[in-house]
Symmetry: C2
Subunit: 146 residues, 2 copies
């Protein structure tokens, strides 16, 4: 029996589980918006800076283009983004928000912070715990990013 191989001793299993559960907590609000969590991430990237090539979005989310491309194709079908070939560099696909995609920012703002803080009410973590958590997660991300 190797203690190192016990589930209870695994940071990774906790990250994996916490990520799944917190993502699930977003689901009711995101369903109301008609999108998924990864689609919401793409929207946050574009709300911050519209008109970006696929690669920039992928880098920002630390995902591969083979994940992001189909995600964007589905979002295009939903009418929340549009894609057009880059003018200087025709290999690029420039992704921009449609009016619908832009309007979703306000709806998200109305639903998500409230919805999440209700669910977080029973969480014992304080503001400074979250701040430290964010730093620790950033350390882990920086350690393992390529």
């Amino acid at each position: 029996m190797h203690a190192e191989l016990q589930l209870d001793n695994q940071v990774c299993f906790r990250l994996y589980t916490a990520a799944r559960l917190v993502t699930q907590a977003y689901t009711p609000m995101l369903t109301e918006l008609g999108i998924t969590y990864p689609q919401y991430l793409v929207l946050m990237v574009l709300w911050e800076k519209d008109c970006q090539p696929v690669n920039d979005i992928a880098h920002r989310l630390m995902l591969e283009t083979n994940t992001v491309t189909p995600l964007l194709q589905r979002m295009e079908k939903l009418g929340i983004i549009s894609r057009k070939r880059g003018e200087q560099d025709k290999r690029q696909h420039i992704v921009s928000l449609t009016a619908k995609g832009r309007e979703m920012e306000q709806k998200a703002y109305d639903l998500i912070p409230t919805g999440m803080s209700e669910q977080l009410a029973s969480c014992p973590l304080k503001l400074e715990d979250y701040q430290r958590l964010v730093q620790e997660l950033d350390s882990i991300i920086n350690t393992f990013k390529k």
Copy 2:
């Protein structure tokens, strides 16, 4: 521009990214074992206690049976677990390790702690940071679990 909706302010995005990256860090060792990360989680559950019904494994991993059942079917095909109907309760499928599945514990022990600590060498977090991180993640998991 809503600061609440910026990627940089999101704990969830960090959890999602850290979980993906740390899971990827396991991949080289797990590939050598011929399994995936979720399959490794199932093995850890069974190494700790062999012969469990599908539901107990799913609860331990906080996953639904509709995720775990196909995972177990793939593991059965790989020859690392076997499934048989429960004797008292014929609805259950009791999952047990094969000889191959049992032998993988030692191989995992030889590969994974070493492989991970090599990769973690450049991580600035100390033992006490990990211990606190584990507690914070457990708080989050407890807040959001069903």
